[in-house]
Symmetry: C2
């Protein structure tokens, strides 16, 4: 596709492989401070498992407000302390909550409905990606999150590491007390059928390496197989940053991922799945401002 005779010498050298092309990791490393933004401290939860492993979670701001408000109340009530991880299904989800389904919920939870599974695309600061998607008409990012849309409504896709609200058959039965994280290929058929409320920022291995449940749907057969949850708390000590999805660095990153030209690659894909375009996350450098 590249016609060498029309290229200046510097690009000829690149095309010939004599100078390395930045990899996605190179672009992330080189991103200037302004291309990162602080994740609000009260959006960051830390789940501590029996044994001391921790999983750091970010709640979303622009989607599923009723579910997310419920989750904040459940955290404040220490609802998950002493509950368990109840389900680990290979290439699907890891799910946790009160296995007895009898633990009292905080009295002030709101009923979240199917209409809360999506929101209008209008009002989002949406950066579309020019890629085909099997499940949506448009995909892209908004304020640090992957987004899928039918052109009118928008929703968070069920990518690896995204967290959703378990429910029963009726769509208004998910309070937020039962949560799961995607541990495999994105089960995008769940999009618009379940509320996605956040993602794992760090430590997902503590969940993805758990033994798979051998009962139906990956639930554990015996109570003693479940891993205990010591607590889920707002975590204000470690500060986290996400790359600004409107930044030049992120635009370069998404393009580089879709068109890999670093030395290992021979055939650039020419596109990328929205779930292969995750937003870079990092611990805030010691020198950075809280702003």
């Amino acid at each position: 596709m590249i016609r060498h005779s029309l290229l200046p010498l510097a690009l000829l050298a690149l095309a010939a492989g004599s100078a390395p092309v930045p990899s996605p990791a190179d672009i992330v490393s080189a991103a200037p401070t302004d291309d990162w933004e602080e994740i609000p401290a009260d959006d960051v939860l830390v789940m501590t498992l029996t044994g001391g492993s921790t999983v750091t979670i970010q709640l979303v701001r622009d989607f599923a407000p009723v579910h997310v408000a419920n989750i904040r109340k459940l955290v404040a009530a220490h609802f998950w302390d002493g509950t368990t991880v109840n389900r680990v299904q290979e290439n699907y989800v890891v799910q946790w909550g009160d296995a007895s389904e009898k633990k009292p919920l905080p009295a002030d939870l709101q009923v979240a409905r199917a209409k809360d599974y999506t929101r209008p695309l209008a009002g989002l600061d949406f950066q579309p990606l020019p890629y085909r998607d099997a499940y949506a008409i448009r995909v892209g990012h908004s304020h640090g999150w992957p987004v899928a849309s039918d052109g009118k409504q928008a929703w968070l896709p069920h990518c690896f590491g995204m967290i959703g609200v378990g429910r029963n058959l009726a769509p208004d039965t998910g309070s937020g007390a039962e949560l799961y994280v995607v541990n495999g290929h994105a089960p995008r058929h769940l999009d618009r059928n379940i509320a996605v409320v956040g993602r794992v920022l760090d430590g997902i291995g503590a969940l993805t390496t758990l033994p798979r449940g051998t009962a139906s749907l990956g639930f554990y057969e015996k109570p003693e197989q479940r891993t205990g949850i010591m607590s889920i708390r707002i975590e204000a000590t470690q500060r986290w940053q996400m790359m600004r999805t409107g930044s030049a660095s992120f635009a370069a990153l998404t393009s580089a991922r879709a068109n890999r030209r670093d030395p290992f690659f021979n055939v650039p894909a020419g596109g990328a799945d929205i779930c292969n375009e995750p937003v870079p996350i990092r611990k805030a450098p010691p020198s950075s401002n809280h702003g």
Copy 2:
């Protein structure tokens, strides 16, 4: 989208939710014997890990013939006995082989080249799916395997559970001695850049639950962190079957997955990712013929 006034009563009842619609699992359970075919016994490998866990692997027939022929020679030479799982990278791959890179290879291995990463679409018994894909112009199945294509060449996509041949920077450096399995969201940017040679039929949890490596790219930092491989052998005792991808059952299954109308679902997706359309695999029922 369904106009009730035009529907016969039976469909009205379905649309109203008063009769259950078959789920993908229901369709698999109901598939007649003729819609399954035996997997050739000499395509089935069993990897036994230290501790006794086993992972069952199927080699592909219609793709990557040079790499697959090499793998058969490596199995026959017992090459992997005493090697290790060296890399577990979250949401990417689990990789195994000779960590020293000094173990002698069988003398008769062939050099596999980049041209072997794809093959012509012509000649395949290809059942296309009508879904958009970020990485390929056409996706579908052929003789029990997922397939992606640009309309001329065809290749096996890097779905969860698919096995590829590790290599160095030059595309002809992958003999087949270093293998990996996808353990997360499909890294489809690897398609056409690496040879895909098979898939895990059973027991993938023995690999996906291993501790993640903490060195670069998920390699283990210390040799003692690696899990040992006792052997990889052709396994002729357990017979396996795959659903015929040209069968009516498989057509119904792919459609049902893309348009979930079983009771949990409110919004059918209208499409599906090729990696969310895996071919059902089962142990051969005791009564079935070997044919």
